[in-house]
Subunit: 405 residues, 2 copies
């Protein structure tokens, strides 16, 4: 809207009414219970505007009145709170060896969290989509059975997803140019709520930012340790997607471009090839067959041996940590995050990965003290991306995309 003169685009301001509705909603999310006058005082909006906005939010059943306050000087005031009960936000994830579903209410409380193992990463997307649709229908039936309206549904995919929900490439699923959003819309009967498809790490970082150990951090990266290493990047409080939505390909940063091991992508020395789970398993369990469908048991075994102090496994973790730290130094030098959270299969191994990763990060960062970047274990489990899918729906509400009354 403001680009004609080359000024920065600030679409946040495009709809002032929606902006102000969201201001009130977010104020209540943090400060409820509070009165209309409290909101006016805190937000700078005048009382008539606040009254009108609150009426709107009550009609949309996002806010409800909970009775008069009594312990105040002056007239008693009607107190307001967020009304989570009539709504549900749903997130799903399809990954190489499992599917997950998470539903949250408006306040962020978990309504359901399901995980099912599967081995459908065959290359043909049909069976995967059918399983995903079945899981979506079960989740939708569960929340609508509780008289909740679905606010939105977001599906996490480990790959490149364009803004239209087409999966350009998901190497670990064997997918290329799969119009997942269109398939899901068809199978779910063109629902009225927003249905989106997004990269898994992009969604997981939203959950990490809202529910993780360093919730609220404005500059945060989530590294999804799986068959590949994806990054979800939040910079200055906002998800960094890039012009076509392809940001966060941490797994293919060149940390040993000449002479490094071959990566699945056909290049040499990518972070995936040196610090990915496959590389770790090959180092720590040289006898094991590396197949994405069996990462779980291998990671459990590595974890067990690390706790027992097995020297070869500790050395393998240290080497992997060092390569990870090299990759993270690129994040620090380019985008300077405050925290990098190790998620997915990395989480349980983080205590053995972090020391060498931090040493390498410090050595390779241009800014002193690694620019303040700290590597931490994610507080989230394998439902992170699905939880992030549901969080993405709540974030849209908080940003002003309110459900119609």
């Amino acid at each position: 809207m403001f680009t004609k003169d080359g000024g920065p685009q600030r679409s946040d301001f495009a709809d002032v009414r929606a902006t102000n509705l969201a201001v009130v909603l977010r104020h209540l999310r943090v400060n409820a219970p509070c009165s209309r006058a409290d909101i006016a005082g805190a937000t700078g909006l005048n009382k008539a505007t606040v009254s009108s906005l609150v009426t709107d939010l009550i009609e949309r059943r996002l806010v409800r009145e909970v009775g008069m306050t009594e312990n105040r000087i002056g007239r008693p005031a009607m107190m307001l709170v967020l009304d989570g009960s009539p709504y549900a936000a749903i997130g799903l994830e399809v990954n190489s060896d499992y599917l997950t579903a998470v539903a949250l209410d408006l306040g962020g409380e978990r309504l359901l969290s399901w995980r099912r193992g599967w081995t459908g990463a065959s290359g043909a997307p049909g069976p995967a989509i059918a399983s995903l649709v079945a899981l979506a229908k079960r989740a939708i039936a569960k929340v609508t059975g509780e008289q909740r309206r679905v606010l939105g549904l977001t599906v996490a995919v480990p790959g490149l997803v364009d803004p239209d929900g087409v999966v350009e490439l998901a190497a670990n699923l064997g997918w290329r140019q799969v119009d997942l959003r269109k398939s899901l819309l068809g199978a779910l009967g063109d629902p009225a709520y927003p249905l989106l498809v997004e990269n898994d790490a992009n969604l997981a970082v939203l959950a990490e930012q809202r529910f993780g150990g360093h919730a609220g951090t404005a500059d945060l990266v989530y590294l999804a340790g799986g068959a590949g290493i994806g990054a979800g990047i939040i910079s200055d409080g906002r998800l960094l997607r890039g012009s076509r939505g392809f940001a966060g390909e941490f797994g293919h940063l060149p940390i040993a471009p000449s002479g490094g091991p071959l990566c699945d992508c056909g290049r040499h020395g990518c972070t995936d090839a040196l610090a990915g789970l496959g590389a770790l398993i090959r180092r720590a369990l040289p006898e094991a067959a590396v197949s994405p469908a069996e990462f779980g048991p291998h990671v459990d075994e590595i974890h067990r041996l690390a706790k027992a102090g097995d020297p070869a496994v500790l050395a393998a973790l240290a080497t992997t940590g060092r390569h990870l730290g090299h990759g993270i130094s690129i994040l620090t030098n380019l985008i300077n995050p405050e925290y990098v959270a190790l998620g997915g299969y990395f989480t349980v191994l983080a205590p053995w990965l972090i020391p060498d990763a931090e040493r390498e990060l410090l050595a390779r960062s241009v800014a002193g003290d690694a620019g303040g970047t700290r590597i931490v274990a994610s507080a989230l489990d394998s439902s992170a991306a699905a939880a992030g899918g549901a969080t993405h729906v709540l974030d849209a509400i908080d940003a002003g995309a309110l459900p119609t009354p």
Copy 2:
């Protein structure tokens, strides 16, 4: 403000009045002349609010009335325009071989653009600061002599600058831990307007985004080709600074970490060491002495020989372009910009750098078509960072940090 629950920080909404003043100001920047009713219709603000906001903007002399419209149905309306005349935004740059100053009026028109060569990069910051202060005083005297009020002054430095304006490290100036902002505040008598210090590439990208060949692009990187290669990154319309302000260290991305040439930073195979101006000069003009103070003449000579088709110089440019494309592929994979503008000394050489850079970028990007990233020559000259400093002042006004009446 909204971080207690881990939700994203949206400081934009902190002050609704300032937000709305800025909405009106930006609407006028793009659409003036227009009436109060036009503004109300376009922004969704009610007419009483718009009237009050416009009164405020007129008192601050940011907006003025230009008379009644006559060619409309219904009552004639008073038309409003942006009032650039009483203000000036100033930007300065200190670099290894020159100082620049730019002043802009509120509408972005250049009031002055000065450049002076110097060779003061001695390591002791005192003389550089004295030269900078003298230049600042001249620029301030020039605009105040024209009855303009200084809206703000921003100084560009080729190095790491923390949010308090302390230059942590500026290798090419020989600076470390220089509290430049404090020194300037003292020397300029603690002015009432904002005085900030910022990384040069961070500022140049703001100018590129407002005045460059692809103005208005939401995902844009400016690469400042000088003694080192700094990156200014705009993502989703906003400058990416990182948690401590140290983002954009493109020059130290590891494109040949083992066995690559030694970089000034002490590591091997950084982009600076392979694609920086020093590396290019050594390749193209093997007899030349490489000193930052003499980059200008060397670049002129390389440009002349390239135009003449000198095979050795063309090969040197192709090699440099290839390394540059390798570094840019890291940008594409991590942050997926739409345009990467080659600035500084790269600009004039861009026609010979871009073909090999784009070939390498395509080969190394995970997303097809290099994720849409295009490498272009910057449209700005060596005043880019200073112009960006002045632009930064205007951006703050546009974002709601208005001057007091």
